[in-house]
Symmetry: C2
Subunit: 312 residues, 2 copies
């Protein structure tokens, strides 16, 4: 059986591209993986850990002869990369991306894709709070969703082929419209990230509570926010700037709702609070049942000390 | 060596009291643990799993002859319990609690404590999103903080004894003033919980994004909020009603800050966003270094499928 794509070019070698490299090798060791990164340090690390078969300074070099080109750079850098690689793409090649917003990426990239090359935007919903070429691992996409957002005129056979590739990396695949994608992600990811960043910033600013108190006593809920708020700043800046409308809409809804709950606290409307908190539990149960999180307490965090008994 | 307290009465048999029972046995199997719960189902489960040595329907029965009485009921129920147990407390006994707010609990409980009994409020900063008599485990308090909030006139020797007890259950112990406790917890716990409840509520309300989409695609950040928002509704209603001032103050600060970030998105001030997101990373590093969370990606969540290789 021949490889789904014989040569894959990864443009940018961070968490997602690095994990794709590991997952591609797990799927099919015959695939040639070319990679490029602008930072010399990233290239050195990629060579040291054998992340790719070939590592280049420019994306133009990496895409030569590639059957699949994956744009894995921050959303704000997509247009420049698309321009640079355009003259070097092999006829019949597939260009895809892994950006967290889709309408803006399509506007930025699609105009530069030459005729005879297929552009199929995509977004694997997977990640951790870590970044850089050492942060990837082969299982990142297992049982996570990868959303394909084919543009008008995309050949269905090419979309199917890319779906097969992502399933080979462990993911489940769905197809979605770009605008709906951006709204769904504003709810499930972009607004939660901004909120977590905000709460961590508030804690850091508050002079009457010291940083060391915030850190020592974080186990009470706050530490879950700090994990989200440790994500890559450049990637997230670009997400918010490029999914502005949907993010602001959801944040507007969030603020309205927060005001309603603040008011319930102020007026001591215990029934309203209790009803609200009961309703949100059901969503959690749905997520556990859908296999998208662990039911182990505290995400199954290991106890801090190892000299203790496991839960009974 | 004799036990720090020979007989301990646990009033309420949920996550915290249940974990205390397991941790007491781990520390010293000679301690007699009495427990009481208003719900017949909870009592039946407690008996079935052998959580306590004796299980009672009323708190008055459970506290007879107890050297330490632990009020482990929702904050709103503390006053009624204090009234009920007062005539039955042994002279020289210590009464403590595990409530998430302290000033309000002190106002509710202290007036009912008879002379000759020591009242030392406390708050172990530990918990999971699960509740009920089956949810406890012996390691819950290991390397977590327990804050003691002695009131005026508490004998230092009795505070030291309670600190020794909590250290025996695995916790680190600090002493704090009630008002400062309530402010610190508003930052590290109460505001984050309300925010998480709100965001999950918004997602649930949004008709253009279906519940099943929210659930399927939750891995992108939202699922961490749903874990927090799955916590016990009664407990949290009482926390907000009883730490109203500090919670509303922190939420006010949060809203100001959120508006500033929304404005940066609207005006496309990428530098402001990038600077903000870079600053919040430092707090995360502090928490990892203080041993209050794991550095494993995604809290070390296991991959969803077991038929895959571990991270390399």
């Amino acid at each position: 059986m021949s490889a789904i794509y014989e040569k894959v070019a990864l443009i940018g070698l961070g968490l997602i591209a690095g994990s794709m490299a590991h997952a591609i090798r797990r799927m099919d060791s015959s695939v040639h993986i070319a990679g490029s990164a602008r930072s010399a340090e990233t290239r050195d690390i990629a060579r040291e850990i054998g992340l790719c078969d070939s590592v280049y300074e420019t994306s133009a070099q990496a895409v030569a002869d590639a059957d699949l080109v994956v744009l894995a750079v921050p959303v704000g850098a997509m247009e420049a990369v698309a321009k640079e690689i355009a003259p070097h793409l092999k006829p019949g090649a597939v260009v895809t991306d892994v950006g967290s917003v889709k309408a803006a990426v399509i506007s930025a990239v699609a105009p530069h894709i030459p005729e005879g090359v297929h552009f199929i935007p995509a977004h694997p919903l997977a990640g951790t709070e870590h970044s850089g070429p050492r942060s990837g691992f082969a299982t990142l996409f297992d049982n996570r969703w990868c959303l394909l957002v084919p543009t008008e005129g995309t050949e269905p056979a090419e979309t199917d082929r890319l779906a097969r590739f992502w399933r080979g990396l462990g993911a489940n695949v769905d197809v979605m419209e770009p605008e709906h994608h951006d709204l769904v992600l504003a709810v499930t990811s972009h607004a939660p990230h901004l909120i977590a960043y905000t709460m961590v910033g508030v804690a850091d600013d508050l002079r009457r509570v010291t940083d060391s108190e915030v850190i020592k006593y974080s186990a009470a809920g706050f530490r879950d926010f700090t994990r989200i708020a440790a994500s890559d700043p450049t990637m997230w800046r670009d997400v918010f700037l490029n999914n502005k409308a949907a993010t602001l809409e959801i944040l507007g809804r969030f603020t309205e709702e927060l005001f309603a709950l603040q008011r319930a606290i102020r007026t001591e409307d215990g029934d309203m609070l209790h009803d609200y908190f009961t309703r949100t539990r059901a969503i959690r149960r749905g997520i556990i049942e859908a296999g998208q999180d662990t039911d182990a307490p505290n995400f199954g965090r290991a106890p801090a000390s190892s000299a203790v008994n496991p839960p009974e």
